[in-house]
């Protein structure tokens, strides 16, 4: 067994030192009738080359997006990840360390978390951020839990334009700690929620208002006005932001968001079928002691040298147990590190340019698709600025079109009805990142054209 070094000689010598005859004796505490008789129903172990062959076989039955062109989006995107990110997160010292409980041996991880918090604070323009949450959906949920605890209120107002997967998680969580989720739908033609309709649902029993910016249709909500409306009734304005958009879109902190959350996948994380990514959370000072998860602080050592430690741990489960602000323990630290490296690689100029490109690519793809006979604009129409993704209406079921377009070595998008039945079978959600070339977009147009014939 390549990973457990003990040889038969080792085992014998160690059993002697322990003073028992057989390894079985070490399991004597397990009642006979509870012991597994026989073996687990699993194959025998294999060698590394055989493992690799097995994996290769499965990979061969899985589409390779370095060869097939994808226009899928809705929360997971095919962005370029520079090699430097992989080189750094694969460093043994980062990848194979545990949570930095012992700061003297963990300054590397601790300082990167401090830098990560700082970068998130820079993007959101809020003073505090944590070391990561599971993903963008649980981050939204944690934000509402925080709001409930902070306000003592138990109603949530949520825009209907947040991603359906996030909505599902929020419903599950909120139900657990007994919050009522009040969803404000948008006019399907507009694709954004009107401030008035939201305002009319806000009152002093509302713990939080949940906004996604850009929303799930790639459109821009009037977030500043919505935030103001929430503030007006003492509800916590929670903004779920796409971090990659924050080079071009107003920082939620700048217009009064109380808590900003989001999913870090667009920041240097490979999609890998949906995870791992990381959720981030930044907040106003007043929420600091209610934040979930790890937080790193700067301090000094006995010689006065600058160093970093896990701080404000009295919020956390291992100290506060049932009174903790959250149950989170293991988080997504290594993904957050990838995010930090990506944010550093981009820098203020790069994230601005890359953000602008998302608008440009989406507009180009929309323009091309709308030139296909029978294809009609979706929510927001033909001209509204869209960030990376948008919906169009096809004259045939989107799932059939996607299916047929696949023969062109291309995944045309996601049948939006799976997330919003109200949009109907023909709705297709299409995402175009900086990796989609003009040629890719033209191929998309042709493929959809032919699929519609």
């Amino acid at each position: 067994m390549p990973y457990a070094p003990a040889t038969d000689d080792d085992v014998r010598a160690m059993l002697d030192a322990i003073g028992v005859a057989r390894i079985d004796d070490l399991f004597a505490d397990i009642p006979i009738d509870l012991r597994l008789d026989g073996e687990l129903d699993l194959p025998l172990g294999v060698s590394e080359p055989e493992l690799v062959r097995r994996a290769r076989e499965l990979a061969d039955r899985t589409v390779d997006l370095s060869r097939v062109t994808s226009f899928l989006g809705c929360g997971s995107y095919d962005h370029f990840v520079p090699a430097a990110v992989r080189a750094i997160v694969s460093r043994s010292e980062f990848a194979t360390a545990y949570t930095p409980y012992q700061p003297e041996l963990s300054q590397g991880t601790l300082q990167t978390i401090f830098e990560f918090q700082s970068a998130i604070a820079a993007l959101t323009e809020l003073p505090v951020a944590n070391a990561s949450l599971y993903d963008g959906a649980t981050a939204v949920a944690e934000a509402t839990y925080l709001s409930e605890q902070a306000t003592g209120r138990s109603r949530l107002v949520v825009l209907g334009t947040i991603a359906p997967q996030v909505r599902a998680v929020l419903d599950t969580y909120a139900g657990a700690y007994g919050m009522v989720v009040d969803v404000v739908e948008c006019d399907p033609a507009m694709g954004v929620v009107s401030v008035d309709s939201v305002a009319s649902r806000l009152s002093d029993d509302v713990a939080a208002l949940v906004i996604q910016q850009p929303n799930a249709f790639g459109l821009l909500e009037d977030a500043p006005a919505l935030v103001a409306a929430a503030d007006a009734v003492g509800a916590v304005p929670v903004v779920s932001a796409d971090p990659l958009s924050l080079g071009v879109l107003a920082a939620p902190g700048s217009y009064g968001a109380g808590v900003v959350v989001g999913d870090g996948q667009p920041l240097g994380i490979a999609p890998s079928a949906g995870g791992p990514t990381f959720g981030f959370m930044a907040a106003q000072e007043r929420f600091l002691r209610r934040m979930p998860g790890r937080i790193v602080g700067e301090t000094v050592d006995e010689d006065g040298h600058r160093g970093y430690v896990l701080t404000l741990q009295t919020r956390e489960q291992h100290i506060r147990r049932e009174k903790a602000t959250s149950n989170i323990c293991t988080n997504q630290a290594l993904c957050a590190l990838a995010g930090l490296v990506q944010m550093t690689w981009l820098g203020p100029e790069g994230i601005r340019e890359l953000g602008a490109i998302q608008f440009e690519r989406a507009a180009a793809a929309r323009e091309r698709l709308l030139r296909v006979p029978g294809v009609l604009p979706g929510p927001g129409g033909a001209d509204a600025p869209v960030f990376r993704e948008f919906v169009v209406h096809l004259p045939k079921p989107a799932s059939d079109v996607v299916d047929r377009a696949f023969d062109h070595e291309l995944i045309a998008g996601w049948p939006a009805a799976q997330g919003w039945p109200e949009l109907g079978d023909g709705a297709l959600l299409v995402a175009a990142t900086e990796l989609r070339t003009d040629d890719d977009i033209e191929r998309l147009g042709v493929a959809v054209e032919e699929a519609l014939r």
Binding site: R91, G297, P348
Partner: protein, 510 residues
């Protein structure tokens, strides 16, 4: 081994005590990135309504790629890790993470796969996830599995939601009047257990530990009589490294009181192929794949916490789930009426689950059992070498880990558990888990895992014994440790009193 030379001088040295932050290294106009498409950024910005447009660029660091890479490589060198040294951090199962797993997770077909890919184009990945569901069902003895939870605590949350949904069904069926809310949790439990109980909208009833380190059975009986029992959360072997031999009595007591049994699988690595939670009478289990199935911890994550349940709870599991049709095709189920919903956006931490799959394939039924056998052997071997200098909290055969008490040492020499922990760093080892479980005075919780050699265990034991001796001879050296780390003991109180959580560069309004 003798000491290395002292730094005689004012030179910062090869391993300076502190490193600039990436913000300290920022200079206007520097950058690492170059974008693939030239667009007129201002023109695009101008299409965004003023109120929604960013006014000033974010205060991210400006550095070129050579600076970026060097900065993070240098920071990495300030970490201890399983690849660089022994890491007997109790309850955390710091075992070796096979390198091939990282490569398999990085295969483009897996790493770039979009979660909403049509199943016909993702059969290989779906097959992989389905195989892993089976393996986890097999290990836990509970057949129905969700891979969605992102960590152990997330699995706990999922499990308690399943517990609640099940009781609600009973209410709906009129079997009980109202939903029970009390969950029994031993005082040895990990902090996530009670914290999860609260988040799930339930109440913790804490159960004391008996003289053998197990759950106090009478206390369990009394609690069952006194409370509306939703269920029990238990780790077995528990955080003392003790296997509770009266587990059958415990589970049946709780079951008779109408409760469900939740098994915290963080310690499953001790019993693979020996016994299974399902066989012990548990209904719901989470598995920390980043412990038992060896996926790298990444300095705090990501991990994964799949949950396995008894068949009668299967219809409640969160979605999406992977299923296999008769014809062998794999498919994704996105809707089931009674499902509790979703606990994360897609399939869970697939990149981590792929590594867990690889671990199961390489080890197989024989290797998994052997992994547990050697983990328990290593723990008992190390315990045998330390027992006489630091008394175990409960002196009996341990499973994969054990807890020593520095209480007596502290009374004799003033050296506390934390001092021993800091001093062991100077010997090149990561310390054990300190002050947990809470009921043990000056606790030091040690888990060697199966991937360490006998020589390493011997050397670690010798170092621990040397420290105990040193505590009596020269306690000052121990209490002022560590002496060889990049930084020395850090002022945690200061950072809690005056939190500095963000680099000054960011707050500066240029």
């Amino acid at each position: 081994m003798t000491a290395a030379p002292a730094r005689t001088t004012a030179a910062p040295g090869l391993h300076p005590p502190s490193e600039p932050t990436i913000f300290d290294r920022s200079r206007p106009g520097r950058r690492s990135s170059r974008v693939p498409i030239d667009v007129d950024v201002d023109a695009i910005m101008s299409t965004i309504p003023d109120a929604l447009r960013r006014a000033r660029p974010p205060r991210l660091p400006e550095v070129a790629e050579p600076t970026l890479v060097r900065h993070f490589v240098r920071l990495s060198q300030r970490n201890h890790s399983i690849d660089s040294g022994f890491y007997p951090l109790g309850s955390c199962t710091m075992k070796y993470n096979p390198k091939v797993h990282d490569e398999i997770a990085a295969m483009p077909e897996f790493a770039r796969l979009h979660p909403l890919t049509p199943p016909r184009a993702a059969q290989g990945m779906l097959a992989l996830l389905h195989e892993l569901q089976h393996a986890i069902g097999e290990l836990s003895g509970l057949p129905a599995v969700t891979l969605q939870p992102a960590a152990g605590a997330h699995g706990e949350f999922t499990g308690l939601l399943l517990m609640r949904a099940w009781h609600r069904e009973r209410v709906a069926r009129g079997e009980i009047a109202e939903e029970p809310r009390s969950v029994l949790v031993p005082d040895t439990a990990h902090g996530t257990n009670p914290a999860t109980v609260r988040m799930a909208g339930l109440r913790t009833v804490s159960i004391p530990t008996d003289a053998r380190g197990g759950m106090d059975l009478d206390a369990v009986r009394d609690a069952c009589a006194a409370h509306d029992i939703a269920g029990l959360m238990l780790t077995n072997p528990n955080t003392l490294g003790v296997f509770d031999e009266r587990i059958a009595a415990i589970t049946s007591t709780v079951r008779d009181a109408g409760g469900l049994l939740y098994y915290d699988g963080a310690n499953l690595n001790a019993i693979m192929g020996r016994t299974r939670p399902g066989d012990m009478g548990f209904d719901i289990v989470h598995v920390n794949v980043h412990k038992t199935l060896s996926t790298p911890h990444g300095g705090g994550g990501p991990g994964a916490g799949p949950v396995a349940v008894a068949e009668r709870l299967a219809h409640l599991l969160p979605l999406p789930r992977v299923v296999r049709h008769e014809d062998g095709r794999y498919d994704v189920v996105t809707h089931v009426d009674d499902s509790i919903g979703s606990v994360s956006r897609f399939f869970g931490n697939v990149g981590v689950l792929v590594r867990a799959w690889a671990y199961v394939v390489t080890h197989g039924r024989d290797g998994l059992r052997r992994a547990s056998d050697i983990a328990v052997l290593n723990a008992n071997y190390l315990l045998a070498q330390l027992r006489d200098v630091l008394p175990p909290a409960f002196d009996r055969t341990c499973m994969h880990e054990f807890v020593l008490s520095a209480g007596q040492l502290k009374r004799d020499t003033g050296v506390r558990a934390i001092d021993v922990a800091k001093r062991i760093m100077d010997h090149g080892y990561h310390p054990p888990t300190m002050y947990f479980p809470l009921l043990v005075d000056e606790a030091l919780m040690i888990e060697p895992t199966e991937t360490e050699t006998r020589e390493t265990l011997d050397a670690f034991a010798a170092a621990m014994r040397a420290i105990v001796a040193e505590a009596h001879a020269d306690s000052q050296t121990v209490c002022s440790a560590p002496h060889t780390t990049p930084v020395r003991r850090l002022d945690e109180a200061r950072s809690a009193r005056h939190p500095v959580l963000v680099d000054g560069f960011v707050l500066a309004s240029d």
